[in-house]
């Protein structure tokens, strides 16, 4: 599904290398997790995959089902099936949540040559999905993320994901700022989307989230590289011992 080869990325504005050759291969239906200390490059990787300005890819590649992601505009990546759940979802005053969702869903359908959903059809689908995430009608009416609590913002991200039905979901610290109940709700939302085909890349600091979203593979990232990959037990090891041992092992 998502194949990342020797990905090397620096900042455009300053001479600073952030990713120093990342390799990762996420198969269809798999859930991979990336853990790592602050500043290791986890969020940068999610931004680079989504196509944010300000980064320069100096080497390597990232492909989604064989198609070069890095060559596409952000909206084309989305239409190709990539979704990034933001660590800090952006507030957009003046743009209604529902309007935004419908515009996004229909833009993607149009880009893929599918028929657009009518207002009625859309409403039916969105209501059902919002209910499962405990998102009420008021939240759908309000401007995108404006005045939302931390938990509401993250649930809204998952709602967007559910509506857009991407092939490859990247979740950037979706657990940050969530209490235990909210995390469970978000995890349930994610698990509901696991269908054996859709793949996930879950970026997190804590093993806790991985209790709810069970990963197939766990990668440890440090200083712009994957320093170790393994099964779910690797996350437990980090939880118990911190990153120090792993970093020492590599050094």
């Amino acid at each position: 599904m998502l194949e990342i080869k020797n990905l090397q990325v620096g900042l455009e504005e300053e001479d600073k290398q952030i990713l120093k050759g990342v390799d990762m291969n996420i198969g269809e239906g798999e859930v991979h997790a990336i853990m790592g200390p602050n500043g290791s490059g986890k969020s940068t990787m999610s931004y680079v995959l989504a196509g944010k300005n300000g980064y320069e890819v100096t080497d390597g590649s990232a492909t989604l089902n064989g198609v070069d992601l890095l060559d596409m505009d952000p909206e084309e990546r989305a239409a190709a099936g990539l979704f990034l759940a933001f660590q800090y979802p952006v507030e957009i005053p003046g743009v209604g949540n529902m309007t935004f969702l419908r515009t996004a869903v229909n833009a993607q359908r149009k880009a893929r040559g599918e028929d657009e959903l009518s207002a009625g059809e859309f409403l039916k689908v969105v209501r059902a999905k919002a209910k499962a995430l405990k998102i009420d009608a008021d939240m759908l009416k309000r401007p995108v993320n404006v005045g939302f609590s931390g938990g509401e913002k993250k649930r809204n991200e998952i709602l967007q994901m559910a509506m857009l039905e991407p092939k490859m979901c990247v979740l950037d610290e979706t657990d940050s700022g969530l209490d235990v109940d909210a995390m469970k709700l978000v995890a349930e939302g994610v698990n509901a989307l696991r269908d054996g085909k859709r793949s996930f890349l879950v970026i997190t600091h804590y093993q806790r989230l991985l209790d709810h979203i069970k990963p197939d593979v766990v990668h440890i990232m440090a200083d712009g590289k994957i320093i170790k990959s393994g099964g779910p037990e690797l996350a437990l090891e980090v939880e118990n011992n911190g990153y120090a041992d792993l970093l020492a092992e590599v050094a």
Binding site: A50, G51, G94, V95, F100, A104
Partner: protein, 429 residues
């Protein structure tokens, strides 16, 4: 040796070019007073402080600069709501295309009819509000209008008007030079909505004098678009009685030169006024100026000025807004915000917010910002698959919405919203 001054040369030329129509003595007195006033102050020139950011040359040149006709690829606005329609062709009223001018609770006469009557209530208004609005700042184009304008309506609402009066200004001649003068009186407790739509003429000079009596309501929604070359100067003079409500909103898209002035005076306590504007300009040929002067001379009145401009490809936007709180006008609540959204480095937004306060128990706030599209919001939208141009337009519309929301009528604000989206959509394709 006589030294010529362009201010007075232009003024003389203008007064010579337009003929004042004959009317009743009181009307002629008002017109003569306006000419005298104009001769005293002279025509506006770029050197004037009040015209520092907007060159008035195109508004005073003789003959009027021409304006190509725009492909009539869109319908007039406000057609879907019940309204009394008045059609003006290049500034001249066309009775055939207009509705029958009868409306319950509203008296409607043409300007020339009213001004030919020896006794008329308009005597206390025609040229009077305009003349009041000449101090402390000169508005020579309004004086010129009072002196010579022949077209327009004298309207008096004695009750609650069952539907809006909709003035539709069509532009059909490349060298039309039009002047329109409306006098509107809303009696105590009555209410009236006036809609204006269309470019008017190649050059259009419009004055509207509005008296809103105690407890009365006046709503005004205006759209100026979408011609490219037109030049427009408008003046809206409002006098507000106690507990009255005055709301005016203008949407402008394109146009070479537009100056919309609004001059309001609170004369009775506990009144409220809102003046809003949303404009979108594209290209170095776009220049849009909102100039507002609000005078608080009563207790506990509230005024809001909300202006938003989106500018791209070298377009220019100007805002000059003033709140004057006179001695004794306690508990005044004055608010003013003007914001420019610049889509590139070539466009300009000039703002001159002014507060002058002589009372000590008031709340007055003002703000002015200039910025670019929020890159984070844009990226967020792109990652959801919304194409860039569409995402940008959504953000622009959201920005303008804060001004559009000042319209106190959902159907009308939806109409404005829809029209703006259509314009943007068409621009993209």
């Amino acid at each position: 040796m006589a030294v010529t001054n362009p201010k007075y040369d232009i003024c003389d030329a203008l007064l010579a070019a337009y003929k004042a129509p004959v009317g009743a003595k009181w009307a002629m007195d008002a017109r003569n007073a306006a000419s005298t006033n104009l001769r005293r102050m002279g025509a506006p020139v770029k050197r004037d402080e009040y015209w520092k950011y907007t060159n008035p040359a195109g508004l005073t040149a003789l003959p009027a600069p021409t304006a190509g006709l725009f492909d009539a690829d869109e319908m007039p606005m406000f057609t879907s709501i019940d309204r009394l329609k008045m059609v003006f062709i290049d500034g001249v009223f066309d009775a055939e295309q207009s509705d029958d001018l009868t409306l319950a609770g509203v008296e409607i006469e043409t300007l020339s009819e009213a001004l030919s009557k020896d006794i008329h209530w308009a005597k206390d208004m025609f040229g009077v509000l305009e003349a009041n609005g000449q101090t402390p700042v000169n508005r020579p184009l309004a004086a010129l209008n009072t002196a010579v304008a022949q077209e327009g309506f004298v309207i008096r609402a004695t009750g609650n008007s069952p539907m809006p009066i909709s003035m539709q200004y069509l532009h059909t001649s490349e060298n039309s030079d039009a002047m329109v003068h409306h006098v509107i009186k809303v009696d105590a407790g009555a209410s009236l909505t006036v809609l204006e739509n269309g470019p008017g003429a190649a050059r259009f000079n419009s004055v509207m004098e509005v008296d809103v009596a105690d407890g009365a309501e006046f709503h005004h929604v205006r759209t100026q678009g979408r011609d490219h070359e037109r030049r427009t100067a408008t003046h809206l003079f409002g006098r507000l009685g106690a507990e009255s409500i005055f709301r005016s909103f203008t949407m402008t898209v394109n146009g070479v030169l537009i100056r919309n002035e609004c001059v309001l005076e609170f004369t009775g306590d506990d009144a409220k006024a809102t003046i809003g504007g949303a404009s979108a300009g594209d290209g170095p040929g776009f220049h849009h100026d909102d100039t507002v002067f609000v005078t608080h001379d009563a207790l506990n009145c509230e005024s809001r000025q909300v202006f938003k401009k989106v500018l791209r490809n070298g377009a220019t936007g100007v805002f000059q807004g003033k709140i004057l709180v006179k001695n004794g006008a306690q508990k005044t609540d004055g608010y003013q915000i003007s914001q420019g959204l610049l889509l590139d480095d070539n466009s300009n937004f000039f703002a001159k917010p002014e507060l002058e306060i002589y009372a000590d128990d008031v709340i007055c706030s003002h703000g002015s910002t200039v910025g670019a599209i929020d890159e984070n919001a844009l990226f967020y939208m792109l990652t959801r698959g919304v194409p860039k141009a569409q995402a940008q337009d959504m953000l622009i519309l959201a920005f303008l919405s804060e001004a559009i929301d000042e319209i106190d009528n959902d159907a009308l604000s939806q109409d404005i919203h829809d029209r703006l989206s259509q314009w943007m959509e068409r621009r993209r394709s």
